[in-house]
C-alpha cells in the first residue's frame, strides 16, 4: 500500500468525522437556541422529584411496617407525613398544569 493510499484513507476518515460533527449545523432541523429553564419549569421538576420521593418512601414504609421494622405508631405518623408530602406535590403540579403555557420538560 503506497503512501498516497494511506493519505487517502486518513483523508476519508477525517472528512467523515468532520461531516458527522458539523451535521447539526448542516441538517434542515435548525432549532433556535434552547431557552433556559424558567422558574416555573424548575418548580415543576422539584415538585415531580418531591412526589416521586414520597411515593418511594411510602412503598418502603409499607414494606418496613409489614415486615415489623416500623411500629404502628411510627408507621401512622410517617405515613401521614409522606402522604401529605405527596399530596402537596400533586397539588403544586395541578396548579402549574392549570396555568397556560406550561410544558412538562423532563417527565
Amino acid at each position: 500500500m503506497s503512501t498516497a493510499i494511506e493519505a487517502a484513507v486518513v483523508a476519508v476518515i477525517v472528512a467523515t468525522v468532520v461531516v458527522a460533527v458539523a451535521w447539526p449545523f448542516l441538517s434542515p432541523e435548525r432549532g433556535a437556541p434552547e431557552p433556559a429553564l424558567s422558574p416555573r419549569e424548575r418548580s415543576r421538576l422539584e415538585l415531580m422529584e418531591r412526589r416521586d420521593a414520597a411515593y418511594a418512601g411510602l412503598r418502603d414504609l409499607e414494606q418496613d411496617h409489614r415486615t415489623g421494622k416500623v411500629g404502628d405508631e411510627d408507621y401512622q405518623s410517617e405515613r401521614r407525613r409522606l402522604r401529605a408530602e405527596a399530596a402537596g406535590a400533586l397539588r403544586g403540579l395541578d396548579t402549574l398544569d392549570s396555568e397556560p403555557g406550561t410544558s412538562s420538560p423532563e417527565e
Partner: protein
C-alpha cells in the same frame, strides 16, 4: 524479499501511520467536544451540544479503530511498532497476542481512552432528550478527562511509536505472569470500573455548576455508579483469582500497592452507594455525597497513577515514565476544580433534615461510611508512606501485611455487623420494641452458631470465630428480610412462595439486589476468614518415594515429567495426594521455562486440587536439583477459598438485579398512590 521488510512495507508503516492519525483525530475531536459543550452550556445552543455529542461518538469510533489496528499489528507480528516488539513474540499463542494490548503502558492507556470515550458516548446517547441543562457540563467534564488521556496517548506514550533502528526478526516476549486467561478479563474489568466513575463525577460537577443540586443527578447516575462499582469489584476478584493460580505464593491478596489502588476507590464507592440513599430518603449528606463522588474518582486516578508511574514496586506496575507526573497534575486539577465548585455551591447543599436518632438506618449508613472511609484512608497511608519516607528521608520503608490485616479486622468486623443491622433498622428512629422483634432471631442464631463453632474447635482464632458469628447474623437477617417480604407479598397477592419471591425482588430490585450483594459479602468473609485463620502450610525437600504432610493430607513425590508448549517447556514434579490412606489424585506443580525470551525467563506454575469439602491443596515447585534427584515442594491447605470465587458470582448476580433497568417501577408507584392521593391533593 525478506519477511520483515515485507511486513514493514505492507503492514507496519501503514498501521502505525493510520493509527497515529486516528489518535490525533481523537484528540482534536475531544478537544472540540469540550469547548463546544462549554459554549453550548453558556449559550444554551442545542445544535452546538448535538455537535459536541457527535464529536464524542466519533472519537469513540476512531479510538476503537485504533485498537483494532493495534490488534492487527499484534497478530501480524508487526515488530516495526515498538509495543509489538517489546511485549510479544512469534510463538506467543494468539489469545495472548490479543490481550498483550494492555500489557504495555501505551496500550493500557489506549484501553483507558477507549473505555472513557465509550462511556461518554453512551452517556450522550442516554441523555439525548433528558437532563438538557446538565448535559453540556457533563460532556465538558468528561471531555476534559478525554482530552487528558488522548494527549497522553498521542504525545507522551503513543501505542503506535515505531521501533528505533533495525527491526528484529522476533519480539522480546510477553511477561510470563500475564500469560494467563484471567488477564483477558481482569484489566478490562478494572478499567471499566475506574473509568465509569468519571460519569457520576461529571454529573456531580454539572449539578454544582447549574445549581441543580437536588436528588435528580443522583438518579441519573445511579446505574452508572453501580456498574462502575460492580466492575471494579469483579476486576479485583478476577485479579485475586489470577494471583492465586498464577503468581505462585499460595494466596490471593497480598496488599500489593496496585491491588490497594483498586480497593480504595471501591471502598469510597461503597460508602457513596449507601450514603446516596440517605440523601434520597432524608435529604441529608448532600455535601458528603459530592465529596464521596469526587474522592472515588480521584482515587481511581490515583490508582492509575500508582500503576503507571512506576513509583511503587509491584508485579502489576509499569516502568517509570513521564505518564506519572502528568497523572499527578491531572489529579491535582480534578481535586482543585471539585473543591472550588463545592465551596462555591456550599449554600445550596444544606440538609433538609437532621439526624433524629443514632438508632436509625441513616445513622447506620453514616457509621458504615465512616468505617469505609477510615479503612480507605488507612490503605492510602500504607501505600503513600513508603513514597513519602523515600522522598523525605531518602529511605524506602515498607508497610507490611500485618498492618493491613490489623485494620481489616478492626474495621471489617464492625462493617460486617452493620451489613446485618442496616437492612433491619427503620429510617428516622427505631423503637426498643421493633429492635427486639427484628433482631432477636439474628442475634440468637449468631450467638448459638458462634458457641457451636467454638465447641467444634474454631476458637483458635478469635477474629475468625467473630467473623463466622457475624456472618450467621447477617445471613439470618437477609433470610428474614426475604421471608418476611415474601410472606407480606403472599398476604397481599396470594400465589406460591417462589412467585411471591420473584414479585418481591422485581418490585424493589435495588433493595433485594443489595441484599444479594450482602450475601456475597458473607461468602467472601467466610472464605477469607477460613483460609486466613485456619489454613496450613509446609515445605519439604523430597526424593522420589518420599512424602510430606500438610493439613491432614499426604503428598508423595514420585518423579518428574516434562511437557512442551508453544513457547515454553514445563518441568513438573509428580505428587500423589492422599488423605486417610485413600488416594485423592495427582498434582503437577511445575517450573515453566519460556523459549521465546532473549533472557532466561521462568515462572512457577502451581497446581491446585479442589476438594469436595471446599478445601484446596495448593502445591508449588520451589526448586529442583537433578544432580541430587530431589525437589523442594511448598504445599498449602487452604480451606474454603472456593467460597471467595462463589462470592464473585453471587456479587455479579446481586449487582445485575440492582442495575437491571425497570421502567415500570416509577409507573407502578404512580398508579398505586396517585389515585388515592389525588383526593387529598
Amino acid at each position: 524479499m525478506p519477511e520483515q521488510v515485507l511486513g514493514r512495507r505492507l503492514g507496519g508503516l501503514t498501521l502505525a501511520t493510520v493509527g497515529s492519525a486516528l489518535l490525533l483525530l481523537v484528540l482534536a475531536l475531544v478537544s472540540y467536544a469540550t469547548v463546544a459543550s462549554v459554549l453550548a452550556g453558556l449559550r444554551r445552543d442545542r445544535r452546538l451540544m448535538r455537535s459536541a455529542g457527535n464529536a464524542v461518538m466519533a472519537a469513540f469510533v476512531c479510538t476503537v479503530s485504533a485498537v483494532v489496528l493495534l490488534e492487527i499489528a499484534l497478530v501480524r507480528h508487526d515488530f516495526s511498532i515498538a509495543v509489538v516488539l517489546q511485549h510479544t513474540s512469534r510463538t506467543l499463542p494468539t489469545p495472548y497476542l490479543l490481550t498483550s494490548l494492555w500489557a504495555s503502558q501505551p496500550g493500557s492507556l489506549l484501553l483507558w481512552l477507549t473505555v472513557l470515550t465509550g462511556a461518554s458516548s453512551l452517556v450522550t446517547l442516554q441523555n439525548r432528550h433528558k437532563n438538557r441543562e446538565l448535559m453540556p457540563w457533563v460532556t465538558a467534564v468528561l471531555g476534559g478527562c478525554m482530552v487528558f488521556f488522548a494527549s497522553m496517548a498521542t504525545i507522551i506514550s503513543s501505542p503506535f511509536e515505531r521501533t528505533a533502528g533495525v527491526v528484529p526478526r522476533d519480539g522480546f516476549g510477553l511477561d510470563p505472569s500475564l500469560q494467563n486467561p484471567y488477564m483477558a478479563a481482569h484489566p478490562p474489568a478494572l478499567y471499566l470500573g475506574y473509568v465509569s466513575f468519571a460519569v457520576p463525577f461529571a454529573f456531580a460537577m454539572a449539578a454544582l455548576i447549574t445549581r441543580r443540586t437536588d436528588a435528580r443527578w443522583l438518579a441519573s447516575v445511579r446505574r452508572w455508579t453501580l456498574f462502575a462499582w460492580a466492575s471494579l469489584g469483579v476486576g479485583m476478584l478476577l485479579g485475586a483469582h489470577w494471583a492465586y493460580v498464577e503468581i505462585g505464593w499460595g494466596g490471593y491478596w497480598g496488599w500489593d500497592p496496585v491491588e490497594n489502588a483498586a480497593l480504595m476507590p471501591w471502598l469510597a464507592g461503597t460508602a457513596y452507594l449507601h450514603s446516596v440513599m440517605v440523601q434520597e430518603k432524608r435529604g441529608m449528606l448532600k455535601v458528603w455525597n459530592v465529596v464521596l463522588v469526587t474522592a472515588t474518582f480521584a482515587l481511581s486516578i490515583f490508582g492509575t497513577f500508582l500503576t503507571r508511574s512506576g513509583v511503587v514496586d509491584s508485579i502489576h506496575s509499569f516502568v517509570q515514565s513521564p505518564v506519572g507526573p502528568a497523572l499527578l497534575v491531572f489529579l491535582s486539577i480534578v481535586l482543585a476544580f471539585a473543591t472550588t465548585l463545592l465551596v462555591w455551591r456550599l449554600p445550596l447543599l444544606r440538609s433538609d433534615h437532621k439526624l433524629e436518632s443514632v438508632v436509625s438506618r441513616e445513622a447506620t449508613f453514616l457509621f458504615n461510611n465512616l468505617l469505609l472511609l477510615a479503612f480507605a484512608f488507612v490503605i492510602l497511608w500504607g501505600v503513600v508512606f513508603p513514597l513519602l519516607s523515600e522522598a523525605v528521608r531518602g529511605v524506602r520503608s515498607t508497610v507490611s501485611v500485618p498492618y493491613y490485616n490489623f485494620f481489616l479486622v478492626a474495621f471489617g468486623l464492625p462493617l460486617l455487623a452493620l451489613t446485618g443491622i442496616g437492612p433491619l433498622i427503620a429510617w428516622r428512629r427505631a423503637t426498643p420494641g421493633s429492635l427486639w422483634r427484628t433482631f432477636r432471631w439474628p442475634v440468637i442464631s449468631a450467638a448459638a452458631g458462634g458457641a457451636l463453632l467454638a465447641l467444634l474447635g474454631l476458637g483458635s482464632s478469635w477474629p475468625g470465630l467473630t467473623a463466622f458469628s457475624l456472618c450467621i447474623f447477617v445471613t439470618v437477617t437477609i433470610g428474614l428480610e426475604f421471608a418476611r417480604g415474601a410472606s407480606a407479598r403472599r398476604a397481599i397477592a396470594g400465589g406460591s412462595w417462589p412467585r411471591a419471591l420473584v414479585d418481591l425482588v422485581s418490585r424493589n430490585r435495588r433493595r433485594y439486589g443489595g441484599y444479594v450483594v450482602h450475601l456475597a459479602v458473607v461468602l467472601l468473609v467466610v472464605g477469607i476468614a477460613a483460609s486466613g485463620a485456619y489454613g496450613s502450610v509446609n515445605q519439604a525437600v523430597l526424593k522420589p518415594g518420599q512424602s510430606m504432610q500438610v493439613g491432614g493430607y499426604t503428598l508423595t513425590y514420585t518423579g518428574m515429567r516434562s511437557t512442551t508448549g508453544p513457547n515454553y517447556v514445563d518441568t513438573a514434579a509428580r505428587l500423589v495426594v492422599s488423605r486417610g490412606g485413600s488416594t485423592q489424585g495427582t498434582l503437577y506443580p511445575a517450573v515453566r521455562d519460556f523459549t521465546d525470551h532473549t533472557v532466561k525467563t521462568q515462572s512457577n506454575e502451581v497446581d491446585i486440587r479442589h476438594d469436595l469439602r471446599g478445601v484446596d491443596v495448593y502445591t508449588i515447585l520451589q526448586g529442583a536439583d537433578p544432580s541430587k534427584n530431589e525437589v523442594v515442594i511448598k504445599a498449602l491447605v487452604n480451606p474454603m477459598v472456593s467460597l471467595i470465587w462463589l462470592a464473585g458470582l453471587v456479587f455479579v448476580l446481586g449487582a445485575a438485579i440492582t442495575i437491571w433497568p425497570d421502567p415500570r417501577e416509577a409507573r407502578q408507584l404512580a398508579r398505586r398512590y396517585s389515585t388515592a392521593l389525588a383526593k387529598e391533593a
